[in-house]
Symmetry: D2
Subunit: 147 residues, 4 copies
């Protein structure tokens, strides 16, 4: 069972097109940063997401929660910290924290729950997570969801 | 005090560019549908969001929660139902429900909390919601957040 | 052969998330407005794009050109005018013009060339446009590409 | 006068949310890759775009052209090559080429023309590019626009 000792960190740089007329990152775009964090974490664990889909299984977001602390601006570098909070029979829960690289101020935090979906069926029912995938995706810290 | 008797409904049609390679609407885009629902609700109440910004006040999303029930696909027409759940001194809470226009199946639901932010200050501190705005934005149903 | 006499018009309303920190619509989003214009035109001609994909054929954008005249802002209603400029053996060329609904000022114009791609093949080679599709998609005005 | 000897290269990795249901990068997103290429080039020349806006000047895209050669897929790393093609009194023209990092296959190419816009005026008229900016942004190769 792979496990990362330290929190998994990935840097993203805010793009111009990710801002809105308030002059800060548009709130929906944090879900893209979360996604980038979790796919990088999965790749670091040896399970690139593209490999998951090649096995006929997609991880569909079923639930998401976000808490915005401080606005991020164009050109800033953000650090996305990602943890696997829980791995169920057919789902995986991730927790995220985004901080400013310069200074470390908290920008946002959140969580997503992903369900395993059968890509080979047109109806795409929820399916059990293959054992070999579950073995790789062990929780990376004790559960502590953002409040 | 304006108040809408029935749930406020707004239709959106799924754009091609809003799908992802899973063949369904990319999960972050539901936040755009929520936003469209709430801006249409505000306009229906006589307070277009652009008018809010002209008064030097922005409504910044501070919290969001989403629950995905059934995937939406390109070309489908969705109905976004939006309610004002609560109006605080410096924030407004909205609740949403998205259903398929054809058949009425539940697609997603969620909530967002918006904080009033002072656009005239570079630091953009949270500020009190002007009284005349709060008068317009009364809750449109008893609180019942998505679980 | 179906043919629209007048220019085909479709309205879009600028969403908040489509703006950037310059306070105007982010330039890439005009390609989404063009797309909405052409899919609405195709539907009006009796050939919804979803139907094209159901026949195993996708229309992939191969070329695009845009000319920005005047910035569009959040909340504005825009009118997208779309024409079919040319229909080749394996491609279709569309021309677009976007104007402000209020006042009619020119906002942007452009063109896209779409190639017919075989969705049933993993390699997705360019394929001939089925005759029954080509019959529907006749040019809707004499060629006059934006300069 | 700064000048880069070799073509300026910047890597981007395709995000899941940048794909569409065709299973490839949505065509509008290449404009974001172009933008990332040109802002990285400007930063490398010692003129970060944020600095341009701090001087009260925005660079607004006035024209764009794209040619798509081969679809890019989720997870792939792309190399964006950017050149400054021409610097006029009030505008700058950039040329781009995107290739697959693995193998070097051509994915897309294009150009954008940016106009200098006065951010301090509500009307945002086109203004002359400040001399000190023009001095930095010299063309980085002989003009050879994509056909």
């Amino acid at each position: 069972m792979s496990q990362l000792a330290a929190p998994f960190e990935h840097e993203v740089e805010v793009r111009y097109g990710e801002t809105d007329q308030m002059g800060v990152v548009y709130h929906a775009n944090y879900l893209l940063y979360f996604e980038e964090g979790r796919t990088k974490l999965m790749a670091a664990l040896g399970l690139p997401y593209a490999e998951v889909e090649r096995r006929g299984c997609a991880l569909a977001v079923r639930k998401a929660a976000l808490r915005y602390r401080s606005p991020a601006r164009y050109g800033e570098t953000l650090v996305v910290r990602t943890w696997i909070e829980a791995v169920g029979g057919a789902s995986i829960a991730f927790v995220y924290e985004i901080v400013r690289k310069a200074g470390g101020e908290r920008v946002a935090e959140g969580s997503t729950e992903l369900a395993c979906v059968d890509l080979r069926s047109a109806a795409r029912p929820v399916c059990m997570l293959p054992d070999e995938l579950r073995a790789i995706l062990a929780p990376t810290r004790p559960p502590a969801p953002p409040s």
